[in-house]
């Protein structure tokens, strides 16, 4: 089976996010980047499928230098090779432009039996990219996947999807397919020392927009379907009463309020 697993570099969840001067994104130059959390689950699933059925696991990431580091970690986890979509022109892509660029790269790589993406990223976070990728590639797809069984001989997949309200559904779909992988589907492995050493010898190639044959108007900001007008922290039209003081004081005040005011205990 040939599997391509997508990895989006996002700011380390522990970072403090500050909105940039032009209010169009966050200040990202000093941040550490890691793989978006769901992508770790996707890569783990790819590695398990390979362990079961043999094949090739490539990881794919569009981004600046931070993406190369994230890809190195993926190679250390056990991916066979990595493709870095690196071009200043890719900057400012929305999900649509990202999906088109990723799709072109997958096509250039000869397509795949299975493409895995995260259910949603930790920054833009709507889970559009994987589904858009499927449409650009003309592949079948399934979202919010919590279980995968592949039958490489029959070229079919049986996957379990998680729906709202504690409902799960099982669907069958043919190769080639894109799956968006839900958090918690597995327990991602950590890279071993051996893995880290082995990663140094693995292939990590970089492709630009020109390599993909994508014209400037289709990538990055010009390729985006929307313009970012403003990023802001929403004002809380809320009723919340923030209780102040030391931890002990606040706790005591809170208990008082829960008893006398809210009358819930």
């Amino acid at each position: 089976m040939k599997i391509i697993s997508c990895i989006k570099p996002v700011p380390d969840p522990a970072s403090r996010l500050i909105i940039n001067e032009s209010k169009t994104w966050i200040k990202d130059n000093d941040l550490t980047f890691v793989a978006s959390e769901a992508d770790n689950y996707a890569l783990e699933e790819a590695l398990r499928l390979k362990e079961k059925h043999q094949g090739d696991v490539a990881i794919l990431s569009m981004g600046g230098d931070e993406a190369a580091r994230v890809l190195r970690s993926g190679l250390a986890m056990g991916a066979d090779r990595a493709i870095h979509l690196l071009d200043p022109k890719f900057k400012g892509a929305d999900e649509f432009a990202a999906a088109e660029t990723l799709a072109k790269a997958i096509e250039k790589d000869g397509g795949a039996d299975l493409v895995l993406a995260g259910v949603q990223s930790d920054d833009l976070g709507t889970g559009m990219t994987g589904v858009m990728l499927a449409e650009f590639l003309g592949y079948a797809h399934a979202t919010v996947v919590i279980g995968v069984e592949a039958d490489p001989a029959a070229k079919t997949l049986k996957v379990k999807r998680e729906l709202e309200g504690g409902i799960n559904e099982t669907v069958e779909l043919p190769f080639p397919a894109v799956l968006t992988i839900q958090f918690g589907i597995n327990q991602p492995r950590y890279a071993s020392l051996k893995g880290i050493m082995a990663a140094k010898k693995k292939e990590l190639k970089a492709w630009s927009a020109a390599d993909l044959g994508l014209s400037d108007n289709l990538v990055g900001k010009p390729g985006a379907m929307y313009e970012v007008k403003e990023v802001f922290v929403p004002e809380r039209k809320s009723r919340v009463e923030i209780i102040t003081g030391t931890a002990e004081e606040a706790a005591a005040k809170l208990v008082e309020k829960l008893r006398k005011e809210a009358k819930v205990i």
Partner: protein
């Protein structure tokens, strides 16, 4: 024209449909655009009759045996036909596991913008500015759609209030014939309730729920201690369960249990929409979080902005003392 693609199961409209209709009614009023609800399915005339009573202009019904169960291939094909005949301005879909399963495909196949996870909008001149959430609801982003309509938007659950849906209309019901030529690649095998386990939080009067802010499994004991002092049940956010600190049955949220206790403590939980939809109707919500900007404070009644490792033991002590006295 504004279209709402309705979502239904077992011949009942989902509440997200009402929320999407509220979004549509508001945009419709501001932009002077009529609202059309679209129902895809088989034997769904009952749903059309129900929608007809809302203050909208039209209900389009496309019935076909292939639409009896949702499938992305059929939905995309049917909607391409319907939208192709109509040239809508805005097409609203629910930001659900179903909506987000087909809307991105439609957006790509028509090469039109999709703004997903919308919570608000603005009218700037003739332009529609859609506001969506980013960074797990910690920030919002205002976006200006590019190019010609139709524009696609998904409505974030809970962002538009279903009870604001205006009725009193007498919409025209229009049946549209759809024919399919493409394959149905993805087939439904079965749909089942996820195993429930032993933890039933639905009747718990008090819940102390912990999140990723607890950092590691062993720390969760402070949540259990507080719960015990209060005679409360324990709940968790999804990452707690995904990391196997607690079994799945403790999870509160869109893919876990929906709860509505009289008192809900959210300890080290940021308040992502998928968590909020599972607990926001609780009578009294207390949030303990060191980040004042955490979205959980949007729904909380009382908040303590401090280190949970200090606050939670302090609370436990007070409740223990209260019990003794």
């Amino acid at each position: 024209m504004i279209f709402v693609i309705t979502e239904h199961r077992d011949n009942k409209l989902k509440s997200i449909t009402s929320e999407a209709l509220v979004f549509a009614q508001r945009v419709g009023q501001d932009f002077g655009q009529p609202v059309t609800a679209v129902v895809l399915g088989a034997n769904v005339s009952g749903l059309a009759d129900e929608l007809k009573t809302k203050k909208i202009d039209r209900v389009i019904v496309a019935e076909h045996p292939d639409l009896a169960e949702y499938s992305p291939d059929r939905y995309v094909e049917a909607l391409k036909t319907i939208l192709g005949n109509e040239k809508p301005f805005l097409v609203i879909v629910g930001h659900t596991t179903q909506g987000m399963d087909f809307a991105p495909r439609l957006s790509v196949s028509l090469r039109r913008p999709l703004i997903a996870g919308c919570v608000e909008y603005e009218k700037q001149g003739d332009r529609l500015i859609l506001t969506r959430q980013v960074f797990n609801a910690k920030m919002n982003m205002k976006t200006g759609v590019r190019g010609e309509s139709p524009y696609f938007a998904t409505a974030s659950p809970g962002a538009f209030q279903a009870d604001e849906l205006q009725s009193g209309g007498n919409a025209e019901i229009v049946s549209v014939a759809v024919q399919f030529s493409g394959p149905v690649r993805r087939k439904l095998v079965e749909r089942v309730e996820a195993p429930r386990g032993m933890v039933d939080l639905s009747a718990a009067p008090i819940i102390v729920a912990g999140g990723r802010g607890l950092k590691e499994k062993d720390n969760f004991k402070i949540v259990f201690e507080l719960a015990e002092a209060l005679g409360a049940s324990v709940g968790a956010s999804r990452p707690v369960v995904d990391s196997e600190w607690l079994p799945r049955e403790y999870q509160v949220g869109s893919s876990g249990q929906t709860v509505s206790p009289k008192l809900y403590f959210a300890v080290g939980i940021s308040g992502a929409i998928q968590h909020l939809v599972g607990m926001q109707t609780s009578r009294c919500i207390v949030a303990i979080n060191k980040d004042v900007e955490a979205p959980i404070f949007k729904v909380a009644h009382y908040g303590i902005v401090d280190d949970l490792f200090k606050v939670v033991p302090a609370l436990t002590k007070i409740f223990k003392d209260l019990k003794v006295s």
